[in-house]
Symmetry: C2
Subunit: 450 residues, 2 copies
């Protein structure tokens, strides 16, 4: 089925992340119609997703509805759909939707489908060590983290308690550092007085990476500062340690000396690598474009695909000048191609290279401690943390989300609280790592299943 095709220049955007959303917004005053097709109904503010996974923020705060954000931009329609094929000759996009297949024709196409977690060929690890890429992931991890403490409270065997209270975070980039820091805070502060049988402060939190430093991209000074701070708040940092095995009961590490070290751990998480959305391979097949080692599509300097000047790839799925997969690259890329399209819709045959303005990067380690790298400047400690806080608040979408987020931060930084800990029965039981019982068994016969 298809809706009446618009007569104006029609821009189809695949994805509602930073790339897709910022492209759509930049087309506000353009003489075009825009259709966003996304697999999810929200725009995910990925940089704060780890705070959902650790109970600080609610899902709504980091994932406002895309159609609500764009409700006043009348030239944009938002559709729930999973793009499964693209016909570059016919200029058609095909998507699976809850109501069947839809086909949309486009004049310009922006592919901003992002990246998934990568397990470097060991996809079987994903069941035991979920990544942190979606709201689904964050709620799954939240259920596992809080669930591990709940389960530990129930057992007497010290070895099992230890296994349940050992958390392994794989990957010492910003997401891994932030997750490890948050789990340390949870166990040392938030949950300190919540249990009677276990002492949550005994939790072991391991941050593991095959590389020799944490936060590799931040430079030596910030890397070693971050490592020191992590150790100070109780995180065991294991570097030069490659993960060679992940199963339900633990993780195997190959250390620098070649020896295998086994860590018994129920709750693992993966923040080690990404690979471009499968849509990247599809577009490469259809267009002959190259894809790089991690599945990203190599684009021309203006972000278009070779031979298809009206088809663009932006954000985490784009391979250009080794730009990193961060929000700023996606936002600026989205805005760049929107500007090109806007001019072309007016009949101007323009082209312009994408010039990325690196505003810097930052990562929090604990409350009051962060690192930030801005141009040649390096900040660490409290000042960097304030910088982190202000910038993230500013970039959050929507006034009300800023207010409630700030409030939740005040509560969790200055108090002990984590307000957003409520899990569904399914989250707490159905998918916890041990899977000793199933959700269905949780109810007595004759009760309604959840």
């Amino acid at each position: 089925m298809s809706h009446g095709e618009p007569k104006r220049h029609h821009v189809v955007i695949v994805g509602s992340g930073f790339g897709g959303l910022f492209a759509a917004r930049a087309l506000k005053r353009a003489d075009v119609d825009v259709t966003i097709i996304s697999k999810v109904t929200h725009h995910l503010f990925q940089p704060l997703l780890y705070q959902v996974a650790t109970g600080v923020l609610s899902t709504g705060e980091v994932a406002p509805a895309t159609r609500e954000i764009l409700s006043r931009q009348r030239n944009v329609q938002v559709l729930l759909g999973n793009v499964t094929d693209i016909d570059l000759d016919q200029k058609l996009v095909v998507a699976t939707t809850p109501m069947g297949l839809i086909t949309k024709s486009y004049d310009s196409l922006i592919i901003a489908a992002g990246a998934n977690q990568s397990y470097f060929g060991n996809e079987a690890f994903s069941e035991h060590a979920p990544g942190l890429k979606s709201i689904d992931d964050a709620l799954e991890l939240r259920g596992r983290i809080f669930g591990a403490f709940e389960m530990a409270e129930l057992v007497d065997d010290p070895a099992v308690v230890e296994q349940l209270l050992t958390f392994v975070v794989v990957g010492a980039g910003p997401t891994g550092v932030e997750m490890a820091g948050q789990i340390a805070e949870l166990s040392r502060r938030t949950l300190r007085k919540d249990f009677r049988h276990i002492d949550p402060r005994m939790a072991r939190i391991l941050l593991v990476d095959a590389a020799p430093t944490v936060l590799g991209g931040f430079g030596d000074r910030l890397s070693s500062y971050a490592e020191r701070q992590l150790i100070k708040i109780g995180v065991e940092v294991k570097l030069n340690a490659a993960v060679v095995g992940v199963d339900a009961e633990g993780v195997d590490l190959r250390m620098a000396n070649g020896e295998i070290e086994r860590i018994e751990s129920i709750c693992k998480m993966w923040a080690a690598g990404v690979s471009g959305s499968p849509l990247g391979r599809l577009i490469a097949e259809r267009s002959g474009a190259e894809i790089d080692r991690v599945g990203r599509v190599k684009v021309e300097p203006d972000c278009s695909i070779a031979g298809h000047s009206n088809v663009f790839v932006v954000g985490d799925l784009m391979a250009l000048d080794n730009l990193p997969g961060v929000a700023q690259v996606a936002m600026q890329g989205g805005r760049h191609v929107a500007k090109l399209i806007k001019k072309r819709a007016k009949g101007k045959d323009v082209s312009a290279d994408f010039e990325y303005w690196d505003k810097g990067s930052m990562a929090t380690i604990s409350r009051f401690r962060a690192v930030a790298s801005v141009g040649r400047l390096r900040f660490s400690g409290f000042f960097a943390w304030i910088l982190w806080l202000v910038i993230h608040l500013l970039y959050l979408i929507g006034f009300k989300n800023r207010i409630t987020t700030l409030l939740h931060w005040v509560v969790s930084f200055f108090g002990r609280g984590r307000s957003e800990r409520a899990g569904t029965v399914q989250q707490v039981l159905g998918r916890t790592a041990l899977k000793r019982i199933q959700t269905d068994e949780w109810n007595l016969p004759n009760t309604k299943k959840d």
Copy 2:
């Protein structure tokens, strides 16, 4: 397995709802040890659950962690477990937990296991018309309600759009009235500008009940006021209409004249009846206590079970003097039995009848409109709404939840926003009524499953 048994008088509480939580709190200064065993890790503030189902509040705001609420009360331990058996002679409680069976001995037992939705023998209806009893239910309904609008935006066939935009709420008690009112608000205000293909204001919201009035227990004046207000905000009120069929595509009603009316509707919800937790039947079997028509346990005037003065049933599972299944009965019942236990733990052989103080009842209809019945007084309109607002804020657990809830209310009552709309892929797709596609099909091959 069992932990070292406490030497002090041991009170086991089954359930962390109003009955269980208020009993535990009232035992704060008692010379007893308390163990709460609950199927969920949170205390659910049921009266505001419909606001989670309609995107106003986050799960954390209505469901703080039970162990966090009680963290400073050192004589309480909270355990995640589903009580499956009770041995009244041995004074033992058996529970399934994620870590296997546990057995707890008790000196006093408080059963506050609540009630489930009842479909009056038509349990098959539950798949198509979920109830609203748990966080799982609320998220399921939220996914279905917002999902129906998402799906309608994707189709051209006017009959399908109409079916998707027809919402049927079964049961015109407070929960049904509040849900119908909220869906009306959603369609008329919140979502008004969010879509391009459909007009959300065309949504039909039906409130159906076999009884001749809405809010039956509130008296004629408030009933007719509520009905008028509902009609005013766009709800179709169908009274004297018994639901005789519910399937994936709609609902069959038997009207007063005996005719069957078919309503084509994808999104249905059930707020028509409750039945006591299956634990009620179990305790009745074990003790010889009677259970009433809706599965509640008939108790002695002091809330204990005949022949077992140390075993109490409180809250929605308790049948005594026709008291209704509302929060106040559970809170006061919990406190009453806690007082008895506290005195008995001191060696006093006391007994006292439970005297319920009816503080009144209230229900919101729309923003700025509510009804309240307090003693002989009847309030309706704006004043009743302010009363509702203040009382619900006061009873919410925790200062921070009061603040963020108030903020979300300001946003949704004075603005248009619903901040908490973010659904997981599973919620938006996997369990929507149509089930045209499955979650697993949402990803292209080789992508990680959520």
